[in-house]
């Protein structure tokens, strides 16, 4: 899965040392709550789009709420997501992904 973050898959932090498999790939996370968040995010994207897999995900924002653009092949999907303290999804809202500049 292509990602824009080089640190923790959901918050880009480089603290911590958790490795967890998501979509068949071992990814780095700073803590267990971020693992939970990322798995929930991928599940919600797949449920919303019907995609069998997520090929790429770009995330921006912070703990108050994150904007995401996911891709599967040539298809793209945008959303806003916020989590509760346990890492479960508190708010999930599909949004139009930003247009691609050519």
């Amino acid at each position: 899965m292509r990602r824009n973050y080089t640190g923790c898959a959901i918050c880009d932090s480089t603290w911590g040392d958790v490795w967890a498999e998501v979509e068949g790939e071992r990814l780095f996370f700073c803590c267990g709550i971020c693992v939970t968040q990322f798995r929930h995010l991928v599940d919600r994207i797949k449920a919303s789009t019907g995609w069998p897999t997520v090929d790429a995900i770009e995330i921006s924002g912070d703990r108050r709420g994150r904007r995401c653009v996911a891709a599967h092949g040539a298809d793209r999907f945008g959303c806003f997501v916020a989590f509760n303290a346990d890492g479960d999804v508190r708010e999930f809202r599909p949004e139009a992904p930003p247009s691609v500049s050519r």
Binding site: S13, W15, G16, C30, R64, G65, A82, N84, A85
Partner: protein, 298 residues
């Protein structure tokens, strides 16, 4: 900075280096409370204990506004900054589910409030602190007869006014995040000095302090116009107005009492860590109110 702001482990009056090493070790073990604290207060890029030690200095540095000014500043940046806390954003013009989430979770908070204030009262020798806490207990929980119901009673009436009977409110257990926060505040009350408990709890009243704009707040706890524009049910208006009218005085008086008793550097640093722990608990607790609101959004 001799007490860990993520778990309150103590490191003694000259334990700054031990604290930095502790933070590095706990973060290395991926402990979520320590990683979170470092992410939000030091930065998202890992550094070693020496780097953490350097980064702690500005976090704990008290400026010309003294300890009270430092507490207000940290509180504003966490809850009223450029991206305000989501509950504060939702409360600006609150929908019914948000107010019901407030009612159901806050009943548990207010019961812990009583316990924490009682711990302070039992432990202090300062008559001013005792009087302050007794007044606070009456305002928040006891009430002063039918004309001046307590904040707790007004909360339950707000629920009833929005169609949620009080017996159902009282029978609803707290969400896990609320439970953890309450347990955290109870541990502070039982294990930490009373002045730190006072800082942990009464600093939270800053949430409804309507003058925080002077300290850089980008908005109030709620849009004050909703108290008069007829958009809220009368019971909701009464509940929000009570806090709006009371919490400036409550929080300012508490900050003055805290500053009077936390005079030496070691005590002040310990108090700062306890305050930082408390506002992390409060952050999660406010999110729990929104999580509960989802139960009523259908």
């Amino acid at each position: 900075m001799t007490k860990c702001p993520a778990c309150l482990e103590r490191f003694g009056p000259d334990g700054q280096r031990a604290l930095a090493e502790h933070l590095a070790t706990r973060a290395g073990a991926s402990d979520s409370d320590h990683v979170r604290w470092l992410n939000q207060n030091v930065g998202r890029r890992r550094t070693d204990a020496a780097g953490i030690l350097r980064a702690l200095v500005p976090v704990f540095s008290v400026g010309p506004g003294g300890l009270a000014g430092w507490i207000r500043g940290r509180f504003v940046s966490k809850f009223f900054g450029a991206v305000p806390h989501p509950f504060v954003a939702a409360l600006q013009r609150p929908a019914r589910p948000v107010l019901l989430g407030y009612v159901v979770e806050h009943q548990h908070f207010l019961r812990q409030w009583v316990r924490s204030c009682a711990h302070i009262t039992a432990a202090t020798d300062d008559p001013d602190v005792i009087r302050y806490e007794l007044d606070n207990l009456v305002t928040e929980f006891g009430g002063s007869g039918p004309d001046r119901p307590s904040h707790y009673e007004l909360l339950l009436r707000m629920g009833e006014g929005l169609g949620l009977p009080r017996d159902r409110v009282l029978a609803t257990p707290p969400l896990p995040a609320t439970r953890r926060a309450i347990d955290g505040w109870e541990a502070i009350a039982r294990n930490e000095p009373w002045v730190e408990t006072m800082a942990a709890m009464h600093s939270l009243e800053l949430i409804a302090h309507r003058d925080l704009v002077r300290d850089g707040a980008t908005l109030h706890y709620f849009d004050p116009a909703i108290l008069d524009d007829g958009t809220l049910a009368s019971a909701a208006r009464a509940f929000l107005r009570e806090g709006y009218d009371a919490d400036v005085g409550h929080s300012e008086e508490a900050l003055a009492l805290i500053a009077r008793h936390a005079t030496d550097a070691a005590a002040r640093e310990d108090l700062q860590s306890t305050f930082l722990r408390s506002i992390d608990l409060f952050d999660d607790y406010l999110i729990a109110r929104l999580q509960r609101a989802n139960d009523y959004a259908a």
